[in-house]
């Protein structure tokens, strides 16, 4: 086959071609890539999906949080720290050691009349409102200058700066003598800002003017208190003026003073227990039920599936309540068992349908017929051929069933139908947190955050798994 280069000018400048016959380099049947099994391939695919990978880390982290957490953070979730009720999350508070409380005499002026000499039309507010000594949570001692014409003084305390005479806050008490110009406040004093206001009275009416002082008491603790709270082991080791850290509540405390972090861990146990055990059980059941129906087909399949349809129609909440009653669990008692049973008894049809569909599809595949021709028995076909090929579907079902169960449990506990206090579960913690949502949002925020993150992570993981396993199910080319 020779050709003139006039015919093909593009060949003109090409020189030094090797026209010798080329020997075979490699077998045309060579496969260059390394062998990958189904799971290995799916794992590689999953790792490439960042969202799914992050979700996987979150799920693993959560598992560690639940299982290993209580070992690391050894705080009793039921222990009430009455001194730190509804604390927002913070670093551990420092407290100073002080002496035991002794009664304060107060300041009573000798050279000032107790009763006003004359009644004034306008009674001014006292001046020089000050703290008599350093304010601590043990006691706040304030003093002021006397007012001529005053027959007494009313003491108020507020948590914000008063805006008007009507906004002075909590009335702490009244002095009924013009020369008693001090007050000791021991009412639930916490280490926060307080605004004390003094109003003069003439014995009958209160004046319209007031004076305000901002006081931030230091957190103080006595040695005996510290000993009883377990913060120190021996009194002799400490002396007044030493600073000690109070109990650390990294996530704050709830309205009963219980440590949030410990409760979250305990709640995780409950939520995850139900969230994993229930789906596991009902998915297992669904696999056998659906596999059976799909494999044998015919009338058996029809009957089994009609029953499954019937179960789907049953109302879940109603059954929960029925089980609770049947198990004799009263209000306020923990309803873990009935919830678990209700979830399992009513949750399996979806899986059964899915597995059945998968089995029906697999049955039509050529390799099933081939195996039958080779003499395979039913159970061999099911175990060796059908079940391995449904594993992908099963795994994905499980991964989506878990967040659904967690959420159901949370919801039920939230409305009071599931786990009841004092047993913590994220749902019941949300229930409690809602009550103080505006003043102490952290009590609602953390359990809600945990529920949302867990459910989201499982769902994204399930998405990623579906993608990783499903595209493998599709044959290449």
């Amino acid at each position: 086959m020779t050709n003139s280069t006039l015919l093909n000018p593009q060949l003109h400048d090409i020189e030094n071609l090797d026209f010798s016959p080329s020997a075979a380099k490699q077998s045309a049947e060579q496969i260059s890539r390394p062998s990958l099994s189904y799971w290995q391939d799916a794992w590689i695919r999953l790792k490439k999906n960042t969202r799914a990978l992050v979700s996987l880390y979150i799920v693993v982290g959560l598992t560690l949080f639940t299982l290993v957490g209580p070992i690391v953070w050894q705080v009793d979730p039921a222990l009430q720290d009455l001194n730190q009720l509804s604390q927002a999350p913070s670093l551990p508070k420092q407290a100073v050691f002080i002496e035991e409380h002794t009664r304060w005499q107060g300041i009573v002026l000798q050279d000032f009349p107790a009763e006003p000499a004359e009644f004034l039309d306008v009674l001014p507010a006292p001046a020089n409102l000050r703290t008599a000594e350093e304010a601590t949570t043990q006691a706040v001692r304030i003093a002021w200058d006397p007012v001529v014409g005053a027959g007494g003084y009313a003491v108020y305390r507020n948590q914000h700066l008063p805006e008007s005479i009507n906004d002075l806050g909590l009335p702490l008490g009244t002095k009924f003598a013009g020369n008693e110009v001090s007050y000791e406040d021991r009412l639930n004093v916490e280490g926060r800002d307080y605004y004390y206001s003094i109003v003069s009275t003439d014995g009958y009416d209160e004046s319209d003017s007031y004076i305000t002082l901002k006081v931030t008491p230091k957190i103080a603790i006595t040695k005996s208190e510290a000993l009883s709270r377990g913060l120190i082991t021996e009194i002799s080791n400490v002396k007044n003026g030493d600073v000690i850290s109070l109990e650390f509540h990294p996530f704050g405390t709830d309205y009963l003073g219980r440590d949030m972090l410990a409760r979250l861990m305990e709640g995780a146990r409950v939520s995850l227990f139900i969230g994993i055990v229930a789906p596991f059980l009902y998915v297992m059941f669904g696999i056998f039920y659906g596999g059976f129906a799909g494999y044998f087909g015919g009338n058996l399949d029809a009957i089994l599936m009609r029953f499954a349809d019937f179960v789907v129609a049953l109302p879940f909440l109603l059954f929960m309540i029925l089980f609770k009653i049947a198990f004799g669990i009263g209000p306020g008692e923990s309803g873990i068992l009935p919830m678990l049973i209700a979830l399992v008894l009513l949750g399996w049809p979806a899986t059964a349908r899915l597995v059945r569909g998968q089995v029906l599809q697999i049955r039509t595949q050529g390799y099933i017929e081939a195996a039958r021709l080779l003499g395979a028995k039913d159970h061999y076909l099911i175990i060796r051929h059908i079940i391995p090929n449904t594993m992908g579907v099963i795994l994905v079902t499980l991964t989506f069933a878990v967040p659904a169960a967690i959420f159901t449990e949370a919801f039920l506990s939230f409305i009071g139908m599931g786990v009841a206090p004092p047993t913590p579960s994220w749902g019941s913690m949300c229930n409690e947190g809602v009550k103080t949502m505006l003043s102490h949002p952290h009590e609602l925020f953390f359990p809600a955050l945990f529920i949302s993150t867990t459910v989201l992570a499982f769902n994204l993981l399930g998405d990623g798994l579906t993608e990783a396993l499903d595209s493998r199910m599709r044959s290449r080319e």
Binding site: A370, A371, R372, L374, G375, D378
Partner: protein, 316 residues
């Protein structure tokens, strides 16, 4: 005769009162070491026939014989095991006929593993031997089906069927899903194995030219019935039945001059449904030589030569 069927019928119940006459009375014979080609279009029932013959579907009526012995009407797993060393099948779709979760070793060795007469080591050796025989590498046995091309998968399927050394193999459209250049690879392999193992084959396909090339005798099916059967070359070059004629004339040849010279105008009309078929010739509504008798009576099978039969009233 190695394989024989007598008026084999396979009907499917689809819905209420709807009877799909997939195979409607097929009587054929296949001699030892012979390849019988079975052609037909969609709805002809050829695949169903092949599967019913080796017991993947229970028969509705009629009989099938292997080596003179009647085959069970419905095969149990024990029956399949008993006949697995005699009757085997090559499947059509290379993508769904191999379990994607099993290695090639497991797939090819499955037959002999189920038989249980070999140690795992022996199984491995046999698999290696057979992989080489079908043109793959022995070290492919640790790989998974998805790593292979269509043609290679089909060869794995062939190894799976052949490793237990059957006598009779039904090839159900083994090359339809493959590219042209690969089809010849698989055909040549089947031919080679047939000769070296002394196999008898039923070769089911819709590619007429390929069937003529591969088979000794050719049978043509239409809507579940046999319309013509005879030596491949004779049926191909001198078709007698009007339907066979239509098929042959419709079949394009890779020869432009020949195609230009053909004046063939194809018959309009399509295959009717094989559901609830009545009496009379199935092809009557499309046949250019139809007569009143064709509509009333089902044509009998007439022998027009020593090894050539036709089912048509024109030959009565």
């Amino acid at each position: 005769m190695l394989v024989k069927t007598e008026n084999l019928k396979k009907h499917f119940q689809i819905g209420r009162g709807q009877n799909l006459h997939a195979v409607d009375g097929l009587s054929i014979e296949i001699a030892e070491n012979e390849i019988l080609g079975l052609v037909g279009e969609s709805g002809s029932g050829k695949s169903t026939f092949g599967k019913t013959l080796i017991g993947l579907h229970p028969t509705t009526s009629g009989k099938a014989y292997y080596k003179g012995e009647e085959l069970p009407q419905k095969f149990t797993a024990a029956d399949h095991l008993k006949y697995s060393r005699e009757l085997q099948m090559i499947f059509q779709d290379p993508y769904s006929s191999l379990n994607p979760r099993m290695t090639v070793l497991d797939i090819v060795g499955e037959g002999i593993s189920i038989q249980g007469q070999h140690t795992p080591h022996q199984v491995k050796e046999l698999v290696a031997e057979w992989l080489t025989k079908v043109g793959l590498n022995a070290d492919h046995m640790s790989r998974y089906p998805h790593e292979f091309s269509g043609g290679q998968r089909q060869r794995i399927g062939i190894a799976r069927a052949m490793i237990i050394e059957p006598r009779f193999v039904v090839c159900d459209e083994p090359i339809s899903a493959l590219d042209v250049s690969v089809q010849a690879q698989v055909i040549n392999l089947l031919d080679e194995l047939k000769n070296s193992m002394g196999l008898t084959m039923l070769f089911i396909a819709h590619d007429l030219s390929m069937v003529r090339y591969v088979s000794d005798r050719m049978a043509v099916m239409y809507l579940g019935t046999l319309v013509e059967m005879g030596p491949s070359d004779r049926v191909f070059f001198e078709p007698q039945h009007p339907y066979t004629k239509l098929l042959i004339e419709s079949n394009p040849e890779p020869d432009p001059r020949l195609e230009r010279a053909r004046g063939f105008v194809p018959i309009q009309g399509e295959i009717t449904s094989p559901v609830n078929v009545g009496a009379g010739c199935r092809f009557a509504d499309r046949c250019p030589r139809v007569s009143e008798q064709c509509l009333r009576e089902t044509p009998p099978i007439t022998q027009i030569a020593s090894d050539h039969v036709v089912s048509c009233h024109l030959f009565n």
